[in-house]
């Protein structure tokens, strides 16, 4: 399948990319690894007039230890994040999940920024970032701003980036290796999650995120509160489906997804010693 025609520009700097977004408005789309956008374009479900390729901006590909948090450049590929010693020691859940996305070829191209900015509720990383209490850094014509993960995922395939903003960095509070659980149910290894759950223990408590349980990635705040109040994994996990609105399809009815969410959250919690 072949995308509809478009123009292609490689941005030399973030500022140039932002200028192009300002100039072209809705006609322009940023292209990073392209593994969310190009499949849609081949199906002609997306037909942008201009692609602004930012993948070559190596300055946005890094994983840095920033004392209390790990800073991940938005154009860091899943493969690099999964293998980054800094990520493995300071944000091991993030490294682990990055190493599970798609397949090796996808991880060689796909980036954390591209994945998150796509806003797909079935994708793994957003729920992890919610559970971790991550912060996104966006850069626009007037400079940079921070957006908490909780505010970032707005609605179905929509995130809190303005049309002229570029996601430049993801900041993740440090967590200890081993203090997390990640559970994903798929039919095949390469599939998107039917349901996924992640639990992360930090100094401020246990964060729990849900994959594919509604139009946006979710934080299971009921579960988190239950743990804070001393409930065990089994009791707390019973609350995992509260307030969720998963879609129903031939892989999972609403009822099934809610059930699986409870099971996977319990398993994830057990891994963090709840």
């Amino acid at each position: 399948m072949i995308p509809a025609s478009f123009d292609y520009v490689r941005a030399a700097t973030v500022e140039e990319a932002i200028d192009l977004l300002v100039q072209h408005g809705d006609d322009a789309k940023l292209l990073a690894g392209g593994h969310s956008l190009l499949p849609l374009m081949k199906m002609r479900l997306a037909q942008p007039a201009l692609l602004v390729d930012i993948a070559p901006l190596r300055a946005l590909s890094y994983v840095r230890d920033e004392h209390d948090h790990v800073a991940v450049g938005a154009l860091t590929r899943h493969h690099d994040l999964a293998n980054s010693p800094v990520a493995i020691s300071g944000a091991s859940v993030l490294a682990h999940v990055a190493g599970q996305i798609g397949d090796p070829q996808v991880r060689h191209r796909g980036t954390i920024g591209g994945s998150i900015a796509h806003g797909d509720p079935a994708s793994d990383l957003p729920a992890v970032l919610l559970a971790l209490g991550a912060t996104m850094v966006a850069q626009g014509p007037t400079g940079r701003r921070e957006i908490s993960a909780a505010d970032f995922f707005v609605s179905f395939f929509e995130v809190a980036l303005a049309p002229d903003e570029v996601l430049v960095e993801v900041r993740v509070p440090k967590s200890s290796p081993g203090q997390w659980g990640f559970e994903k149910l798929t039919k095949r290894a390469q599939d998107w999650a039917i349901v996924g759950a992640v639990a992360v223990r930090s100094s401020s408590g246990v964060g729990v995120g849900l994959i594919n349980m509604g139009p946006v990635p979710l934080r299971a705040s009921g579960v988190e509160a239950a743990i804070a109040s001393g409930k065990d994994a089994k009791e707390a996990a019973e609350l995992a489906s509260e307030g969720t609105e998963p879609s129903a399809d031939f892989n999972g009815s609403l009822e099934y997804r809610q059930h699986v969410a409870r099971v996977l959250v319990r398993r994830a919690l057990e891994k963090v010693g709840v």
Binding site: M1, I2, A4, S5, M43, R44, L185, K187, R188, A189, Q190, D191, I194, D249, F250, N251, G252, S253, Y256, H259, V260, V263, L264
Partner: protein, 763 residues
């Protein structure tokens, strides 16, 4: 020392591994233009209007055609027995009957222009009521062909005996879904066509049957046989779905004739998922009865076959299902009847096993259900009912005559390799401890029919003056390794090294006749034809040698070790193959050559036992295959490497049907699995390595003693895995879970069983 039975590496491989195969899309065709089809996005509708004017006006577009432009007759039904009122036009005309049906063909200078133009064709539809479920279609309330007055395309009914189960102490019955699956060869359909300088249509096709494609082009395009030359370059898998000719093939040929320019067409995967025929698609109702001590006495299978929108090969699959009704068991009374109906879905066709996996799935599932009913170990029930090795040839209640077999041996070996007793012990342990991950052990004893169609096959062997050999075969391999296997057969007879043997196939100018490769027929009929041609060429060589030696013909012998002929007792004086080829040329002016049109000696019946071990996560319903043990008997094995490869591939497809794969439509007839992201094509990550063994019980039916091995893996594996999943859940009160046993379906079955148990407890 015989080369047969050795693990000879494939001669085909180096090309694929260094530069890749040459598939239709890889052919150089200077000046070629691209064909694209605009397909229906409605499952059932009247076509009110088609506006192609904008597409036609687009730069780069050469022309746009619809059915009226073609002036071709409707595509005939595959078999005369299906309902004659249900034929499709080459391009949909008036009514569309499934999503994916081609309506318009676009020819453009580039692939890109063709894709862009397809977006500009405006089709106005008037929706009609849709019927997807064959059970609904059977009611004839929504008709696909109102003029036919029914949705029934084909029936098989030999009458029923009301007293069939009267003598049985125990009778159980079950409705089983043998779901619709997509064959998914990695290469989709593809064709390229051009007119040669001498006015012939040269047509390259990704097909399993080049001569069938030639005959179809001749017939539909109104050409003479000598005007059409079909070539199959490398073909990227077929699995039965490329054994048929499709409307698109004919239209591509028509475009080349009409435009006088080389044209090429390669479907996208999204097109292939709705355009290439689907497989299986049966709803089965089975009844099995017998004694409390495990003698099965009666069995009846009623099949409702989903033909898809137009009756193709799929409509007549129940014929093969019926042939294998009672499986490997000695069942005194057995019946099978079927009804095939049309629905608003992709036409169904042959898919690896083609009607036999469906028969095996039914009887093997019912054997397990019966065993459970009488509380007998399923292996023991099978042992008690298998046909014994001294009962062959064995005629079943549906009049199928099994050639030869040792079914008990295969069962025993499979259980031994699996360490069945130990598995049952581990299962009990997990059941007792209430483990979240329960173990399931599933068996499948199968027998199937190969070379079941009546066609013979062409084979020829020619000795070149340099002593090298040209073999020509009417089979049309697409991964099976015929070049290697046929070389081995010829080397074995002639004593010539396989490196000096060239095997030619898939070119209708060079190979005059051929039925192709399907139905696990190739070795036992195509290989046998080549083998016979080799024997015939030896006889001709002996005639020539006798002249040269001035000896009695009966005294001439072929010494295979030196690949030369001599007079018995005088090995010092000999003539090589090259010398005899030269002698033939000198004598007749022609090559040393023999060709054979081998009539089919009839079908053979491969058999075996598969054991599957699965683990079921009872909380999520997810199934993991831990082990798969396959004992297969395909008679004499020419090359174990190739035979194992066939079994491996079959197992993967069989496991996939049991666990994962299903073509799904919504109620409006929209396909929900039209990409490989949505359709659960199984990968390496979902499968274990397999434990395969062969037993070899040679068949007396053909000279090679060989049976087919192409489909056994699929036939044997699916019920073993399916039974294993159901077995894992049996102690939870689950009687049956339909395929594919997806996580949600397994979980639902556990929930329903628990609800029943609770209700009983409260009641």
């Amino acid at each position: 020392m015989s080369i047969l039975g050795n693990r000879v590496l494939r001669r085909e491989d180096p090309k694929f591994l260094t530069v890749g195969g040459t598939y239709v899309a890889d052919l150089e065709l200077p000046g070629s233009v691209h064909v694209t089809f605009v397909r229906s996005n409605m499952a059932h509708a009247k076509i009110v209007s088609v506006d192609s004017s904008r597409a036609k006006a687009m730069p780069g577009v050469i022309d746009v055609f619809s059915n009226d432009d073609l002036g071709l007759a409707n595509f005939p039904t595959i078999m005369e027995m299906t309902n004659a009122a249900m034929t499709p036009p080459m391009l949909a005309s008036g009514t569309v009957r499934f999503v994916g049906e081609p309506i318009v063909v676009i020819v453009a200078e580039t692939r890109e222009a063709a894709a862009d133009a397809a977006e500009l064709v405006v089709i106005d539809y008037e929706p009609l009521p849709v019927v997807i479920d064959p059970v609904e279609a059977r009611k004839d309330e929504i008709l696909l062909f109102p003029e036919a007055g029914t949705n029934v395309a084909f029936t098989l009914d030999f009458g029923g005996d009301d007293t069939l189960f009267d003598a049985c102490e125990v009778v159980v019955e079950l409705t089983l879904a043998n779901q619709r699956v997509a064959p998914c060869p990695l290469e989709g359909r593809s064709a390229a066509a051009h007119m040669t300088a001498d006015g012939r249509l040269e047509f390259s096709s990704a097909t399993q049957a080049p001569h069938g494609v030639r005959d179809a082009l001749v017939s539909f395009l109104g050409l003479e046989p000598e005007q059409v030359h079909v070539v199959t370059p490398d073909v990227g898998g077929g699995f039965g779905a490329k054994a048929s000719v499709y409307q698109e093939d004919i239209v591509v040929g028509w475009c080349a004739l009409r435009l006088g320019r080389p044209v090429r067409w390669t479907e996208t995967r999204s097109e292939s998922m709705v355009g290439l025929g689907h497989g299986r698609a049966q709803v089965q109702h089975a009844r099995i009865g017998g004694t409390r001590d495990g003698i099965v006495q009666a069995y009846r299978l009623d099949v409702l076959q989903d033909s898809g929108a137009y009756p193709g090969f799929g409509a007549v699959l129940p014929f093969m299902t019926r042939t294998m009704t009672s499986g490997p068991y000695k069942i005194a009374r057995a019946e099978c009847a079927s009804v095939s109906v049309v629905t608003n879905s992709t036409t169904t066709t042959a898919y690896r096993g083609a009607g036999r996996p469906e028969a095996t799935a039914a009887i093997e599932r019912m054997m397990d259900v019966f065993a459970r009913e009488i509380e007998m170990d399923p292996a023991e029930l099978r042992r008690r009912n298998l046909i014994s090795k001294d009962e062959f040839p064995y005629t079943t209640p549906v009049e199928t005559v099994y050639d030869v077999g040792d079914y008990h041996r295969a069962l025993d070996l499979a259980l031994e390799v699996a360490d069945y007793e130990q598995l049952r012990t581990e299962q009990s342990r997990r059941r007792l401890s209430g483990d979240v991950r329960q173990l399931g052990i599933g068996l499948s004893c199968y027998v199937e029919i190969t070379n079941g169609l009546p066609d013979g096959e062409f084979g020829a062997v020619e000795i070149r003056p340099d002593g090298k050999v040209i073999v020509r075969t009417g089979t049309s391999p697409h991964g099976q390794g015929h070049v290697t296997a046929w070389s081995m057969l010829v080397a074995e007879q002639l004593g010539i090294a396989i490196e000096d043997i060239e095997v030619i196939y898939g070119d209708t100018d060079v190979v005059p006749r051929g039925a192709g490769t399907m139905g696990s027929r190739s070795l036992q009929i195509g290989g046998a034809a080549v083998n016979q041609a080799a024997l015939d060429v030896i006889e001709k060589a002996k005639d020539l040698a006798a002249d040269l030696f001035e000896a009695d013909r009966g005294d001439v012998v072929l010494d295979k070790a030196s690949a030369s002929f001599h007079v018995v007792g005088s090995p010092a004086v000999s003539h090589s193959w090259a010398e005899l080829a030269a002698a033939a040329l000198a004598k007749d002016g022609g090559p040393l050559f023999a060709e054979v049109d081998l009539a089919s000696p009839g079908p053979t019946f491969p058999f075996g036992t598969h054991v599957s071990v699965v683990e079921v996560d009872t909380e999520t319903g997810k199934v993991t295959v831990l082990r798969h043990i396959a004992v297969d008997d395909a008679g004499r094995i020419v090359n174990p490497l190739l035979a194992e490869g066939q079994v491996h591939g079959g197992i993967a497809q069989g496991v996939a049907q049991a666990l994962l794969e299903e073509v799904v439509y919504d109620l409006d007839g929209n396909p929900l699995t039209s990409t490989l992201a949505d359709y659960s094509f199984i990968s390496a990550a979902e499968l274990p390595s397999y434990e395969t063994r062969f037993t070899e019980t040679p068949t007396p039916v053909n000279a090679l003693g060989a049976k087919g091995i192409g489909e056994s893996g699929t036939i044997g594996s699916t019920p073993a895995v399916h039974n294993a999943v159901c077995d894992a859940l049996a102690h939870l009160g689950v009687r049956h879970v339909d395929m594919p046993t997806t996580p949600m379906r397994v979980w639902s079955a556990i929930e329903e069983a628990a609800a029943r148990t609770n209700a009983k407890g409260q009641g």
